[in-house]
């Protein structure tokens, strides 16, 4: 089935998320929609899927104009979507999730679960993977959950398949497998839209590439285009893809973690007996697929986890068992992985957010009252230093772009006297310009002689920033290896396979 979008425009208030976008996807081709975070890719697909109403423009399938009132209509017309955040009910079984919304019944509304199980098995068999139809979705690894999403779309006879940032949660190996599935679907005649901002994947799988920037189509490219060409098209200027840094100058100060074990509220061990050392003047990147204990590791370092055993010594001071306040005072800077829930108070102003961590005394609080002039002076200084693009420090931080929000977090954390910097996913959901800035600041911090820990799920970032890379899998350390380790070795490590010879023992 041929998909055509003509002049799609979608506005949110003053913001034009999609500005007269045209796109044609032929059956039997993988069409890649490439663009930065916030370029309007997901908005466009939500319009296509009936989740948003377009303000202008038309959707055509096989040259017939469609009008979708909701996702139900889009699905009935043959459009299937594999969502970035899976649209699966965690406590339902695979079969229940697949049948939901188009349930086959044995009369009187009684579910035909046997039929649903058969559908799941048959669809899975076609692609040579196995999914237990009775397994609860919440018990499945994310890679398998994504396959359930694919089965869900295929069981509805989708002819146009949209993959929205599908690789964010996958290991490199799982990514390769996903691409094999996409190619197979294409060879079977499906029209595939692949949304991503990762250049490597685009070139691996795309038949055609459309680049979107600021809600507009800025060009088409062939899969033979180089990374640099695609990146400059995507960002609108030449982009430095590598991070410039000198060889690390090791100092004597260090963060030493020994036997760190963290259990969550259910008693599951999420960080399992981890030991490592980060010396002053080096960056250790904690790599791995999301959800393998990185979050809990960083939170344990800051004292946010409750059930912690083992030892964390920063410059010979024990941090385990201390309060967050004491740990911050000990000189730990912390960039949380989700700035919207943990890093910032969205309704507070930029200035308020910048002093959020130091409201317990002078200089910003005297005799219990805020020193507003001092606060604003400080805020203005930091906004200038960290190049936060804003109309004013009194505006709510929630209104800033992702990149500028992250700069506010970074500015606050770096303005204390630090002895350690922990940055979890510092560039997630951040535009390329801000990524360059943030990377540069992290390297500067390293060069000041601090130990730096960066958590990243993006292999490119891990390799670019790290002096050493520690890969985590299921709460354990698979290995700690130099950043020069080949990507395929790192990829295998992310799937839990320990490296044979490289690196030191964990």
């Amino acid at each position: 089935m041929k998909l055509e979008l003509r002049g799609i425009t979608k506005r949110f208030g003053a913001l034009v998320a999609n500005d007269h976008i045209d796109l044609v996807v032929e059956p039997g081709e993988i069409h890649c929609l490439l663009g930065e975070n916030g370029a309007g890719k997901s908005t466009l697909m939500n319009v296509l899927y009936g989740l948003y109403d377009a303000d202008e423009g038309q959707i055509l399938l096989d040259d017939e104009v469609q009008s979708f009132d909701g996702p139900g209509d889009a699905m009935a017309a043959g459009i299937g979507m594999v969502h970035q955040h899976f649209m699966l009910v965690p406590v339902f079984s695979v079969a229940e999730n697949v049948m939901l919304g188009h349930e086959s019944t044995r009369g009187a509304g009684v579910l035909d679960l046997a039929g649903a199980r058969r559908t799941v098995r048959e669809t899975a068999d076609r692609f040579g993977f196995h999914v237990d139809p009775d397994a609860l979705v919440e018990d499945l690894p994310v890679g398998v959950q994504q396959r359930v999403e694919i089965i869900k779309a295929l069981s509805r006879d989708a002819q146009v398949l949209v993959f929205d940032e599908p690789t964010a949660v996958l290991t490199p190996q799982e990514t390769d497998e996903l691409m094999a599935i996409m190619r197979q679907l294409r060879d079977d005649g499906a029209a595939i839209v692949f949304i991503t901002h990762k250049l490597r994947e685009v070139r691996a799988v795309a038949d055609r590439i459309t680049v979107v920037r600021h809600g507009k189509v800025v060009g088409e490219a062939a899969p033979t285009a180089t990374d640099a060409e695609l990146a400059s098209l995507m960002v609108g200027r030449a982009v430095e893809l590598t991070v410039h840094k000198e060889a690390p100058q090791h100092r004597d100060n260090a963060l030493e973690v020994a036997g760190l074990t963290v259990a969550n509220a259910d008693g599951q061990v999420v960080v399992d007996d981890i030991s490592f050392t980060v010396r002053g003047g080096e960056v250790l990147v904690v790599a791995g697929v999301q959800g393998n204990g990185q979050t809990e590791l960083t939170e344990a370092l800051l004292g946010l986890q409750e059930d912690v055993a083992g030892s964390v010594r920063l410059d010979d001071r024990e941090l385990v068992g201390r309060s967050v306040r004491q740990i911050l005072s000990a000189g730990v800077g912390f960039v949380p992985e989700d700035r919207n829930t943990d890093g910032l108070v969205g309704e507070f102003s930029i200035a308020e957010n910048l002093i959020l961590d130091r409201t317990d005394g002078p200089p910003f609080v005297r005799a219990g009252s805020l020193q507003l002039a001092r606060r604003d002076e400080f805020a203005q200084e930091k906004v200038d230093e960290f190049d936060v693009r804003t109309q004013g420090i009194g505006l709510p931080v929630g209104g800033l772009s992702g990149g500028n929000q992250q700069k506010v977090v970074l500015a606050r954390e770096m303005s204390r006297d630090l002895r350690l910097l922990v940055a979890a996913q510092p560039t997630r959901g951040v535009d390329v310009g801000s990524i360059e800035f943030i990377h540069q600041r992290i390297i500067e911090t390293r060069d000041q002689g601090l130990p730096v820990i960066v958590v990243s799920t993006e292999l490119d970032e891990a390799v670019a920033l790290g002096d050493r890379i520690m890969v985590m899998y299921r709460g354990k350390v698979v290995g700690i290896v130099p950043a020069t380790t080949p990507r395929d070795v790192l990829g295998l490590m992310m799937a839990g396979v320990a490296p044979e010879s490289e690196g030191e023992a964990a």
Partner: protein, 432 residues
């Protein structure tokens, strides 16, 4: 489909590697120990010599079971002994990081209860009717079970229903008026269902369409319905009691043959139509929730409304339907007060049963069958106080009136494992 080009390797299963530490939970041993201490103090400070008479049969039974006569204090201390054993075992289990099984708690409860009853009934000239205790429990559980079903269905769809009390009270009031006017308890029941549904409709309009905080809507509805019914009661019903507030009640409907089985017969098979319907409806709701398309969709919108929306399910309509069905059921429960229990409406006569129903729903982990069982437990606790005042218990009746609420408190405090509400419970769904 053409032959696949690549066969992807299977993704490794999640099980391997993940280790768990079982956490020590002292909740059960502490609760069991605390109750035991209170019990022992009561027995030691106010011993009641004499014997207690437990009657298990009624005159209509096929055969008679003789009255059990037990020495009161021996039974009481036996109960304490078993209680101590279970508490000790619970401490050991907690040390070994194991969960205390529900049947241990059941044994503990049965023995302590028997001991307590023997103590309370000691020296009384009247028999303590076990049958009366149990059948009364079923009767009193009726509005609680209907109410808890209302909660279960609404919250499974993601709408918090604090307004069960209001639905019960509106049902009771409407049933009283309509049954009095028409002389038909059936008409009263129908009116109660409509009234419960109307309260649910108001809840739906504010909670689903206008996305007002659901707990606040529920609280306001409770206050509103109490106010409205009290006003109409004193202004309209009291001056016209003959015409508007004197109902014909549903008669008891003994099921021939079955009702004469000792113990079971009078407890289960000599009830009113409302109680029989209750058992049927609990089963139907269970089946509907877990085995039908309707139930799958209701649970989907309560767990992950966006996922339901993306497969073409109308989230708001599904929620409305669930809330309205729930309200109808709670209305039926409300009819209990004025066409089953007594024959007239009284001011605030539901007396918090809606909140107990809410507790039954939580205790029952949002499952209709478990919630119904919890409702029966609360009915039992309420009836215990009635029965004890009949045999002339030494405990002041005002004190015993707290019993159902104390049981509720223990239940909701999570004595029997964690209770996990539907993921999207209480969250209004906003379509972007």
């Amino acid at each position: 489909m053409s032959a696949p080009v690549t066969r992807p390797a299977p993704v490794p299963a999640q099980e391997t590697g993940a280790r768990t530490i079982d956490k020590v939970s002292w909740k059960s041993p502490i609760a069991l120990g605390a109750v035991l201490v209170l019990y022992v103090l009561l027995m030691a400070l106010a011993p009641h010599e004499g014997s207690a008479r437990f009657a298990l049969s009624t005159s209509r039974d096929f055969f008679q079971i003789p009255v059990f006569v037990v020495p009161a204090m021996t039974t009481a201390w036996l109960g304490a002994g078993v209680g101590l054993l279970v508490t000790g075992a619970a401490v050991l289990a907690a040390r070994a990081r194991r969960r205390v099984p529900l049947w241990w708690i059941s044994v503990y409860a049965v023995f302590l209860l028997t001991g307590f009853l023997a103590w309370a009934a000691a020296g009384s000239p009247r028999d303590l009717s076990v049958v009366g205790l149990l059948s009364g429990a079923v009767v009193l559980a009726v509005p609680i079970v209907y109410g808890s079903l209302s909660g279960v269905i609404g919250e499974r769809a993601g709408v918090i229903n604090i307004a069960i009390e209001a639905q019960l009270l509106a049902g009771a009031f409407s049933a009283a008026v309509v049954a009095s006017l028409t002389d038909s308890p059936w008409a009263g029941l129908l009116a109660a269902m409509v009234a419960g549904m109307l309260v649910a409709l108001v809840l739906g309009i504010f909670a689903i369409t206008y996305r007002v905080v659901q707990i606040i809507v529920g609280v306001v509805l409770n206050v509103l319905v109490i106010g409205l019914t009290s006003f109409f009661y004193s202004q309209v019903l009291v001056p016209n009691t003959e015409m508007l507030n004197a109902t014909t009640r549903f008669p008891r409907l003994p099921i021939p043959f079955l009702d004469r089985i000792p113990v079971v017969g009078p407890v289960l098979f000599n009830q009113t139509i409302l109680a029989y319907l209750m058992f049927v409806i609990v089963g139907v709701v269970w089946f509907a929730l877990y085995r039908t398309r309707w139930g799958l969709r209701v649970r989907a919108v309560g767990e992950h409304p966006k996922a339901a929306d993306t497969v073409g399910i109308n989230v708001l309509a599904t929620r409305y339907r669930a809330v309205l069905i729930g309200g109808t059921l709670a209305g039926m429960g409300g009819a209990f007060y004025t066409v089953v229990s007594i024959n007239q409406f009284g001011r605030e006569m539901t007396a918090g049963a809606g909140f107990i129903a809410l507790a039954a729903m939580i205790f029952g982990k949002w499952d209709p069958v478990r919630a119904a069982l919890a409702g029966l437990l609360f009915g039992f606790a309420t009836n215990l106080q009635n029965v004890l005042s009949v045999v002339g218990s030494p405990v002041p009746s005002q004190f015993m009136l707290m019993l159902p609420y104390v049981v509720t408190l223990f239940a909701v405090a999570g004595l029997v494992g964690r209770s996990q509400p539907p993921a999207a419970n209480g969250q209004a769904y906003v379509k972007e």
